[in-house]
């Protein structure tokens, strides 16, 4: 098995009859291995993943997996047979046991041979360490166990493209670490697209990262490149009673020995006593988001100014000539 070649061209998704553009002309070639997908709430991450899994149809643009476009129903089904998906809102049938649920999902994924299906269900249950509780009903499972059932169903068909949306939300630290390692183990010779808000999850597992903001690709590249964007721009304010200017993005606020410690992103030293520190991926992400927000805000101000000046200009007589 080789990782699939996933190419996205001019992908646009709209809601409310075109009034809301969730994705706006996205072009991307998905790298192989584990790929982190970052972005703030409402940036379009889940919409992007739903299109990749064939659950949502775009308004325009194409998604191609190994040359198969997700345009027709038959082609979408072909791609789905090689894709695994763990959605953000993971629902399970509460009255089925884990084994029954996975058996059902395996059938829906096209594993119709009874013996092969039984072996595969047993194997994925063992992989997610649920084989000893496989006969318990899903309604008795904890949040972490349900997430593991979710990943188990996603890998039932041995997918070449595995898409996981916010898999570690609500998990305790130990369960989160276990889940992270599981995903890293699974990446191997497939592409795993991991969407999360938790930058640390991506730092620990993904060599490549894609940042989505305002329905477009804000960054794509190696994880180190994202950190490098903030190099020379990260400052630590350690002096007591020194607070950063309110318009600067603050990455962390933590208690220190001599008072509160602020970590801020700024192109120049925000205060005379600010200490320059080396940038992390989180700093790079915050710097990127701040740069985008500034650009959007500037553009919006420029538009408002130009609208105001247009309104204040005297109307030319020939416009209203009868």
């Amino acid at each position: 098995m080789t990782a699939p070649n996933v190419t996205i061209t001019g992908l646009t998704v709209t809601f409310r009859r075109g009034q809301v553009r969730a994705l706006d002309g996205v072009n991307l070639r998905l790298p192989t291995g584990m790929v982190g997908l970052l972005g703030p709430n409402g940036a379009g991450k889940t919409t992007f993943m739903r299109v990749l899994t064939g659950v949502l149809q775009p308004a325009s643009g194409t998604v191609s997996v190994d040359g198969t476009d997700l345009t027709s129903r038959a082609q979408r089904r072909e791609v789905k047979a090689a894709t695994g998906y763990l959605p953000q809102e993971l629902g399970l049938y509460p009255d089925l046991t884990a084994r029954q649920f996975l058996d059902y999902m395996a059938l829906l994924k096209g594993i119709t041979d009874k013996r092969a299906r039984r072996d595969r269900v047993h194997e994925v249950l063992r992989l997610v360490a649920l084989d000893d509780v496989a006969r318990r009903k899903l309604k008795t499972y904890s949040g972490g166990m349900k997430r593991r059932v979710g990943i188990a169903q996603a890998i039932l068909n041995d997918p070449r493209l595995l898409i996981v949306d916010e898999p570690t939300v609500g998990l305790d630290p130990e369960e989160r670490l276990r889940f992270r390692s599981l995903l890293a183990t699974l990446s191997g010779d497939r592409t795993v697209l991991l969407s999360t808000h938790i930058v640390d999850d991506i730092v620990q597992t993904c060599p490549n990262v894609v940042v989505i903001e305002h329905g477009g690709i804000a960054f794509e590249g190696a994880i180190g490149e994202l950190a490098a964007r903030a190099e020379g721009m990260v400052w630590q304010l350690t002096q007591p009673a020194t607070t950063p200017p309110p318009d600067l993005p603050t990455v962390t606020i933590s208690p220190g020995i001599s008072g509160t410690v602020y970590r801020v992103v700024s192109s120049s030293a925000p205060t005379p006593d600010a200490e320059s520190v080396s940038a992390t991926v989180e700093d790079g992400y915050i710097a990127l988001m701040h740069a985008i927000d500034s650009t959007v805000s500037e553009r919006s101000q420029r538009t408002q100014r130009s609208e105001r000046s247009e309104r204040s200009e005297p109307s030319t007589p020939d416009v209203h000539a009868i």
Binding site: V55, I111, I155
Partner: protein, 270 residues
């Protein structure tokens, strides 16, 4: 990767429509039959009606066919309302459980899931109905002899099943539009108006015609049972009428499910 997962033959999108439908039916059956509401509502409504059975002289009927079919009439008065009521919330269950994305991401389209749900959830809801019937037949056989049992099986197939399939099909399609609560109210209204409010009330109704769902025509034509509304109309049931009645119910049920399949398939990208 082979260290993580042993590879089996890769699944394909096209294979196994029937296997997937059977799987959906099997699991829908399991999930529905485990619901206490299914047992309480269906058995409760049957018991409510059978506490004071009609016709009033049912205790003195000795002919096996007439006796069994008279009891069938009592089962069919309220029982199907219970069947429809507990099926109505199955329709939007996947959305409520936030399973839609997960199911839509599989290469299986809407068809096997819809037909599987109709077969599985329908069969599960009919199970308490069938068990009540079996219990009654057991009781009647101790009083009137084992001859009631084969008649009871024939009655089940010709009187109960067409009406229950009809109710099942509409309970798994109409709530897509109305939601379960409104559907239940509508079902109750339809069942009373369309099957029990006879022509003597002076309002147009299918009650007493072969297009009712309560099974009077098979009862009258094949088992010499008591016909209420058809008798008011002055109609005598023939075998042809009974066949028309059954065919109407089954074909309408099929049409309802096929329409739902078509509409959902058009809406769904999967």
């Amino acid at each position: 990767m082979t260290a993580v997962l042993e590879r089996t033959t890769a699944p394909t999108a096209a294979q196994g429509w029937w296997a997937k439908t059977r799987a959906a039916a099997r699991y829908e059956y399991l999930m529905q039959v485990r619901r206490p509401a299914v047992w309480v509502v269906v058995i409760g409504l049957i018991a409510l009606r059978c506490a004071a059975p009609l016709p009033v002289n049912i205790g003195s009927v000795t002919d096996h066919a007439a006796l069994v079919s008279d009891w069938a009439g009592n089962f069919m008065e309220l029982g199907p309302i219970g069947v429809g009521a507990v099926l109505a919330d199955r329709v939007r269950r996947e959305a409520r459980l936030e399973l839609n994305d997960l199911l839509a991401s599989t290469p299986t389209g809407i068809g096997p899931r819809l037909w599987g749900k109709a077969i599985g959830a329908g069969a599960a809801t009919i199970t308490p109905f069938a068990l009540c019937w079996a219990a009654l037949l057991g009781y009647l056989s101790t009083k009137h002899g084992a001859g009631v049992i084969p008649v009871g099986i024939e009655v089940f197939a010709t009187v109960f099943l067409p009406g229950l399939i009809f109710v099942t099909a509409f309970s798994l399609t109409v709530p897509f539009l109305t939601g379960p609560v409104l559907f239940r109210l509508g079902l109750f209204g339809y069942w009373v108006w369309g099957n029990m409010v006879g022509p003597d009330y002076g309002i147009p109704t299918p009650a007493g015609t072969p297009f009712e769902a309560i099974g009077e025509y098979p009862i009258g034509a094949w088992f010499h049972g008591f016909m209420f509304d058809a008798r008011e109309r002055g109609w005598n049931a023939t075998s042809a009428d009974a066949v028309i009645s059954i065919a109407f119910l089954l074909l309408t049920a099929l049409a309802a499910l096929a329409t739902a399949h078509y509409v959902l398939n058009r809406r769904s990208p999967s």
